[in-house]
Symmetry: C2
């Protein structure tokens, strides 16, 4: 048997890593959906053992040697292989940059912070969490410095790179600045306009069984493959799994006919992305999704842009009547459209509509940078939060729970994550504009419940690229233009000022 090249040996190692991660995905899904409730201790040991194994694989000296040898003979590789090698190094660099002692300490301190976050939420009092969050911020600052040094990036960019590879704060800041110049007035104009025709309430019995049947019918139409995926109810909506076995959940609120479906659509967007990743690279780094902002763009495109469009409402209305057995003025197309697109200045990000959502993200982006730089002491976070929410959205949260205690991300040590949500929305709109230029019949198709052209275009121009390019290059490749805020603002203006 001839000796395998370093690159081929690397593919074997990453194939193992992929199998372990697939196993981790099943264990996590099971923990959220099917696991007996008292079995979390056992599951914790299993997850930790597998995660340790993944980390050991990525940080082994042998892997580093193989990467260096493969890079030395890179010119003999095809372009997908070169991109794969680049992603292998990225994974290895991220894994190795933080020393195991700091990884262990962060795991311990964030676990404590998560528990205290729950306590603080219960008492509606940020000061319960503040000292522990301060600890997490300090450790994360160290981690960001080491990671940045290792990757040749600014500390904050090094953190953000973990969630959306290739996205830098220079571009994020510029995009958010453009949005901040237009969105506040746009919100005002939309709210004024909304007064002319407010939505009325809808009534009916929205049992989980009915909601589920509705979701399944819509997911089938969109193209979710039920022989390669599952759809379950869980405490929250999420997507888990690998492209050959993808699992979507949502949460059914019996008083709300829409939230379960919209959650399912959001997750179906991500699932279809995962399913469309290049088959021949499935078990390699270059065959994975291109990070959080891209996943979010696929979710928002389906849930927000398509799922709340007039065309989709026309398709959806008969299904609502059929599954919920309802009728009456609330269920007119016009009213359903208004209900799905009502703008409200509220304090909670998770409840925010499309138009006010970015303000929530921009506030977090600014604050997490100031926390990490040390400019903003953790104990002063509530005042800074409220002041900034007032400035960006004209809202002053009434309490910590409505303010800086609403998200768990920072307690978990996830800094650099929030911008991905906002950028995801911008990417979604730009892709949508590109898609509609090329697929001119899309509106009529959606009304008929046909999604083949939409998903086909996304598959060809986004999904099939996997992790071959950085996010900005991928957007340019798909739309012919660099990532910019224009399409997003045009989309919002057309929808909220010109009525779709």
């Amino acid at each position: 048997m001839p000796a395998l090249t370093p690159y081929v040996q690397l593919e074997q190692e990453f194939r193992r890593l992929h199998a372990f991660r697939g196993a981790l995905a099943v264990l996590r899904w099971d923990a959220a959906v099917t696991m007996p409730r008292a079995s979390a201790d056992v599951r914790g040991d299993q997850l930790a053992a597998l995660e340790t194994e993944c980390h050991a694989l990525l940080s082994s000296p042998r892997l580093t040697r193989l990467i260096e040898r493969a890079e030395a003979s890179r010119q003999g590789l095809a372009d997908w292989q070169q991109a794969n090698l680049r992603e292998m190094r990225r994974e290895r660099d991220h894994a190795i940059a933080t020393p195991p002692s700091l990884v262990a300490r962060l795991a311990r301190e964030t676990a404590r912070a998560e528990a205290l976050w729950l306590d603080a939420r219960e008492r509606n009092d940020f000061s319960v969490l503040a000292p522990q969050l301060d600890e997490v911020v300090k450790l994360t600052r160290n981690r960001a410095a080491m990671l940045g040094q290792h990757l040749g990036l600014d500390p904050y960019d090094a953190l953000a790179d973990e969630f959306t590879p290739g996205l830098r704060s220079r571009e994020i800041t510029e995009l958010f600045a453009t949005l901040s110049r237009r969105l506040p007035t746009l919100v005002n104009e939309a709210l004024d306009r909304q007064l002319e025709g407010p939505a009325i309430t809808v009534e009916g019995r929205f049992t989980p069984a009915r909601q589920r049947a509705l979701c399944v019918e819509v997911m089938r139409a969109v193209g979710f493959p039920f022989d390669r995926g599952r759809f379950d109810e869980a405490g929250r909506a999420f997507t888990e799994g690998v492209p050959g076995d993808i699992r979507v959940t949502t949460r059914f609120d019996p008083r709300d006919p829409f939230s379960g479906l919209l959650g399912a659509l959001h997750e179906t967007g991500q699932a279809l992305y995962d399913l469309g990743l290049p088959k021949e690279w499935r078990d390699q780094p270059v065959g994975q999704d291109r990070g959080m902002a891209l996943e979010e763009s696929q979710s928002l495109l389906l849930e927000m842009i398509i799922g709340r469009s007039r065309e989709f409402v026309a398709y959806l209305r008969p299904l609502l009547l059929k599954h919920y057995g309802v009728d009456g003025p609330g269920w007119s197309e016009e009213n359903l459209y208004r209900r799905l697109n009502t703008v409200v200045r509220g304090p909670i990000r998770m409840d925010a509509d499309e138009l006010t959502y970015q303000a929530h993200i921009i506030v977090r982006y600014e604050l997490e940078q100031r926390l990490l730089s040390g400019e903003l002491p953790v104990r002063n976070l509530p005042e800074a939060w409220n002041e900034l929410m007032d400035r960006r959205l004209g809202i002053c949260p009434a309490s910590d729970n409505d303010g800086c205690l609403q998200d768990i991300h920072w307690a978990q040590g996830s800094f650099g994550y929030f911008p991905s949500y906002g950028i995801g929305a911008v990417v979604a709109a730009q892709l949508w504009e590109g898609l509609r230029e090329e697929q001119v019949g899309v509106s009529q198709e959606i009304i008929r419940g046909e999604f083949g052209s939409v998903i086909g275009w996304l598959r060809e121009n986004v999904h099939a690229l996997g992790a071959k390019m950085e996010v900005p290059d991928l957007v340019k490749h798909a739309t012919g233009k660099p990532l910019h805020a224009g399409p997003y603002l045009r989309y919002l203006e057309r929808k909220y000022l010109l009525d779709g």
Copy 2:
């Protein structure tokens, strides 16, 4: 930090192994119960990667060195630790005895044989499978020779030791000879007696939902912990998981009010065994179950001995009426008892009653030894099978599907497995006799649906011992007598000749 002793380092390694095996259990359960049907390819990769990891852990030179060093200072260990070290070596010896090339070849050839077994079943023609089974037998013969040499055992004993540690063919042969002397006449006598009062049929609507509700009520009464376990419908009845997260399935046949419940009881017996294993040794080899024969004994004790007793029928009857909404002469205690204990000479092991079951096992035990020794060529198996079934049970199977094609075990390379079923029944009866001598109120308790004394006795005398002793020692420890066929034959005679 002071250096850890070799023994303590071993415990750490086996803790990792336990976590991987727990993950494997979840992946297997998921594959059988919740996995999308087209995702088997992905799951195969995940299982293979984890199994390879387990094998690598057990066969690493470092583990061997640690075991040797720990054995050299064994006298400093407590008795549980010494037993744990013995089990560590057993696992390591079994893992290392077969060279990886042979493991890989067996995996390939048994996979082919399984597929051909399905084909052969479809055509009801053993000759479709024969050449491939011959291949599997030859490879297994090699494996048995190597394993035997490594463990200092006869080849067949080395295979059987994988399923029930400590059980040797000398004892199996002797036990089966004792059974063969009495059972054929006992079957005749029971069949004669049965003619005097045959069971009449029962009628009703046994929907899966009703069967499930019945099973859950009975499982709760027996002590199945639903917060640490699950109960699901699947294509077959099985138990999967680890003591902190144990999962039982059964199969509901809407025409049969009993088979789903009996399957659930069978698996609950095993689940309660796993749950009763010593908590402080859960993640170590000595804290695992003591092999197939013991597991089967716990299943049969609950399903066969208790679950088909007059006392249990008295407890069960009101539940049947409640859940199935039935009544009428078929549902009298007397008739239910008769239906649950009808003796039939049939060709199929899986359908066999308690009394004829051993003949099926003994036939397989004799044949697999002759196949492995080479005395019986694989191509002659059908004739040998039919001849022996006739001799042992007075049955001549009408076709290969009713004969030597009915079980998948040999195609999977599982030789030495079948005796565990038969020995399990013998062990169950001996434990039951010991239990009833000490817990005199058991009959009345079962009638009231109380199982605390039964499970408590088993927990103390069997479950809590884990893998601390070999099977024969464990039986002697629990009952004060060596493993022997007396209690089993007494139990059958009392039940089938004296009516309970």
